[in-house]
């Protein structure tokens, strides 16, 4: 028996090292990646990887290569890299807007297919060129971390709707829903800015929502959202130019969408509940009456902007809110073709905002 056990141990020792080793120091670990369309059939891929310098600083290095397809870009990049490029800790993938207009499914597919890439990877559209953005120097923790933090905190605390690789693919494959992704813009060599949301029809970018409308967009597409909106009231007393403004930060908001599928045309009602606090007020005294006025104005803003957005979606034949998806859950034998062709373009929307201002800060 003892002999048998020692034999076993011997064999197990021989079995170590079956699989190749990968040493972190000898790898280029990609943290961000960008794709741009340079010509009709040429894609320029940029890989960003951090190099850790002795005193703890991080240097951003990039490699770029051009090829006809995303897969070939990968190969060409590897040929240029001194050490093997690995994608295991990829955080961000940027797509140039030209590329996005042409279709992004190839990129999304290659990300999904690679088992080493997580589903939480941040996908974003670069206004201008993705390479340009990746070549800047932002923050001290490396560009990849910077961009993903920038987008994530805007999702969590501000007006950006929630997106990532998984959600993009979910929406792309779901009948009755179209995906959307955030857009970022380079302001200067060390600053970036979230400048809006790109709307897709299948995998092609067809429209954008500017940053000013994001508050309303997020109210429509996300179950729960935060963010802030500046309400413009009447003119200031004795001032012809300036408006009285109140900045309202929503601390809790949710929406409830109801599709009445028996009616013709289909009626969709949005109940939007917002509980907010006033962060800034430029008028004189914030009385209860004023607060009521702000609530009413905000409700009106929400109704107007949301209807405008929804009308635009219908016009472009896209459905980022996922009304078709809701309709699908409500009826048996849902016919997506009929829905897209006749029902959705004629659908009527109704917005029922419910705004309540809870507090107005430490002064009246």
């Amino acid at each position: 028996m003892r002999k048998r056990i020692s034999n076993l141990i011997l064999i197990l020792l021989l079995l170590t090292g079956c699989v190749e080793r990968e040493i972190l120091d000898d790898l280029n670990i990609e943290t961000a990646k960008g794709y741009d369309l340079v010509e009709e059939n040429t894609i320029r891929g940029t890989a960003l990887f951090p190099v850790y310098i002795k005193d703890g600083a991080i240097e951003n290095r990039t490699l770029s290569a051009e090829a006809p397809s995303t897969r070939e870009v990968l190969e060409t990049l590897s040929r240029k890299s001194q050490q093997p490029l690995v994608r295991g800790s990829l955080d961000v993938v940027l797509l140039g807007d030209d590329m996005a207009k042409k279709g992004v499914l190839d990129v999304a597919d290659s990300l999904q297919r690679d088992a080493s890439i997580g589903a939480r990877v941040t996908l974003a559209i670069a206004e201008g060129s993705a390479e340009d953005i990746l070549k800047g120097n932002y923050g001290i923790r490396g560009n990849g971390t910077f961009i993903s933090n920038l987008i994530n905190h805007n999702i969590k605390r501000r007006e950006l709707p929630e997106t990532n690789l998984h959600m993009f693919l979910f929406d792309y494959f779901q009948d009755g829903k179209t995906p959307y992704l955030p857009i970022i813009k380079k302001v200067s060599d060390d600053t970036l800015e979230v400048s809006g949301v790109a709307l897709f029809d299948k995998d092609k970018m067809v429209d954008t929502v500017p940053a000013d409308d994001l508050f309303f967009f997020k109210l429509l597409v996300d179950k729960l959202s935060e963010g802030s909106h500046v309400v413009k009231l009447g003119k200031k007393d004795g001032d012809a130019e300036e408006h009285v403004e109140a900045a309202v930060t929503s601390i809790m908001s949710k929406h409830k969408i109801k599709v009445e599928n028996e009616t013709d045309p289909v009626k969709v009602s949005f109940k939007i509940v917002i509980r907010g606090i006033i962060k800034e007020y430029t008028g004189k005294r914030l009385s209860q009456k004023k607060i009521k006025e702000i609530e009413d104005k905000m409700s009106k803003d929400i109704t107007d902007h949301s209807l405008k957005l929804l009308g635009r979606f219908q016009e472009k034949g896209i459905d980022p809110v996922g009304i078709g998806q809701l309709q699908k859950h409500g009826v048996r034998g849902f016919d997506i073709k009929e829905w897209e062709k006749t029902l959705y373009p004629n659908a009527q929307f109704e917005i029922k905002p419910d705004v309540e201002i809870l507090e107005s800060g430490t002064v009246e």
Binding site: L15, A119, H166
Partner: protein, 362 residues
């Protein structure tokens, strides 16, 4: 059959773990796509239906064991006589060996796709089979222990699916009953393949103390498996959109891609490594069943037959190299298992009952 000494028998409640452990194997990692192919997002109903059939079959098997003299081999003997009975036994040896090959190869494929593309099938299988040999040669009590740990230790993995909730839309499964009954029944059949393995009770039975009273535990084992499968099916339906799931080979593993913890970037690696513990009792029970039949029908020592079977398994494994073959292997063993369980076993019960009556008259 020689009576099994009391000291080598297991407590009846351990049947729960044996049944549950052999049912849950590599199939859980990717059954969602297979049921959704026909029944769409009504597939979870098919899981329940398939689960119900396993309960009925388990009742039939206990009846067969009761009437058929204690295990499969003696039932065959009553039904078909000495030589034909042995031929039928041999079929089951092949079947259980095929199960070992299927389970192990599917798991190795997962490791190759998700973790190490260059992992050698042969060496991994060799190491794994040495371990399996070591456990199986220790007897049923040993295997029951492994089944216990193979169920309890990885059970925490169920909790990790909670990470998918923020991204899930449970309305996906609405409207319920949006598919025809026929589609749902096809899905039920396909699902029943993922439930296979509980026929090992046909050989384990003589090793259970108070064997007749153990049916309760076996049924609970089946019930637990069904519950786990229904939960995983509904969670994956909520997490993936329908066409997205159709493209996802290992939906359970793909769900782990969303898990994010401060200390681990890719949870799949931990999940897959843990899954080794789930696979181990699977391989051990099936291997033991094959070797047990060999012992009953041939004069070969059981340890030697484990050796022989292990060598056959490792040899076969090395010939299966790509996705297509692994897929074929899964379909093949699933189909065979389906017909053995759902068609052959009930017929065998009938034949046993008839033959007993005939002999009594003679």
């Amino acid at each position: 059959m020689q009576p099994i000494p009391e000291s080598r028998k297991i407590s009846p409640f351990l049947v729960f773990f044996l049944i549950h452990a052999i049912q849950v194997g590599a199939g859980v990692l990717g059954f969602q796509r297979i049921i959704a192919k026909n029944a769409g997002y009504d597939g979870w109903i098919s899981v329940i239906l398939a689960g119900i059939t396993t309960h009925i079959l388990m009742m039939i098997m206990y009846l067969l064991l009761d009437k058929g003299g204690g295990d499969l081999v003696s039932a065959h003997r009553i039904a078909f006589g000495k030589w034909l009975g042995k031929a039928a036994d041999f079929l089951f040896v092949l079947y259980f060996t095929l199960l070992v090959v299927t389970i192990l190869r599917t798991y190795i494929e997962v490791v190759q796709v998700w973790m190490y593309p260059r992992l050698s099938t042969f060496y991994f299988a060799l190491a794994f089979m040495i371990l399996a040999y070591y456990i199986v040669s220790g007897g049923v009590r040993n295997i029951a222990g492994v089944a216990f740990f193979g169920t309890v230790l990885p059970s925490y993995l169920l909790l990790t699916f909670a990470f998918t909730f923020p991204f899930s839309d449970f309305r996906n499964i609405l409207p319920v009953f949006d598919h025809s009954l026929k589609d749902m029944l096809i899905a039920t059949k396909n699902m029943s393949l993922t439930f296979l393995g509980y026929e090992s009770i046909l050989l384990l039975y003589p090793f259970i103390k108070n064997a007749k009273k153990s049916q309760k535990h076996a049924q609970w084992g089946l019930f637990t498996t069904t519950t786990v499968y229904v939960i995983i099916a509904i969670i994956s339906f909520a997490f993936f959109s329908e066409k997205q799931l159709a493209k996802t080979v290992w939906a359970t593993l793909s769900m782990w891609k969303i898990v994010e913890m401060p200390f681990v970037e890719r949870f799949e690696y931990i999940g897959i490594a843990n899954w080794c513990l789930v696979i181990l009792p699977n391989v051990c029970i099936a291997l033991w069943c094959a070797s047990r039949i060999m012992k009953r029908i041939t004069p070969i020592n059981q340890r030697h037959s484990i050796w022989i079977l292990s060598v056959i398994v490792i040899g076969t494994l090395s010939f299966l190299t790509n996705r297509k073959q692994v897929d074929m292997l899964n379909t093949l063993s699933g189909e065979i298992g389906f017909y053995l369980n759902y068609v052959y076993i009930p017929i065998l019960l009938l034949v046993v009952i008839i033959m007993k009556k005939v002999r009594k008259k003679v």
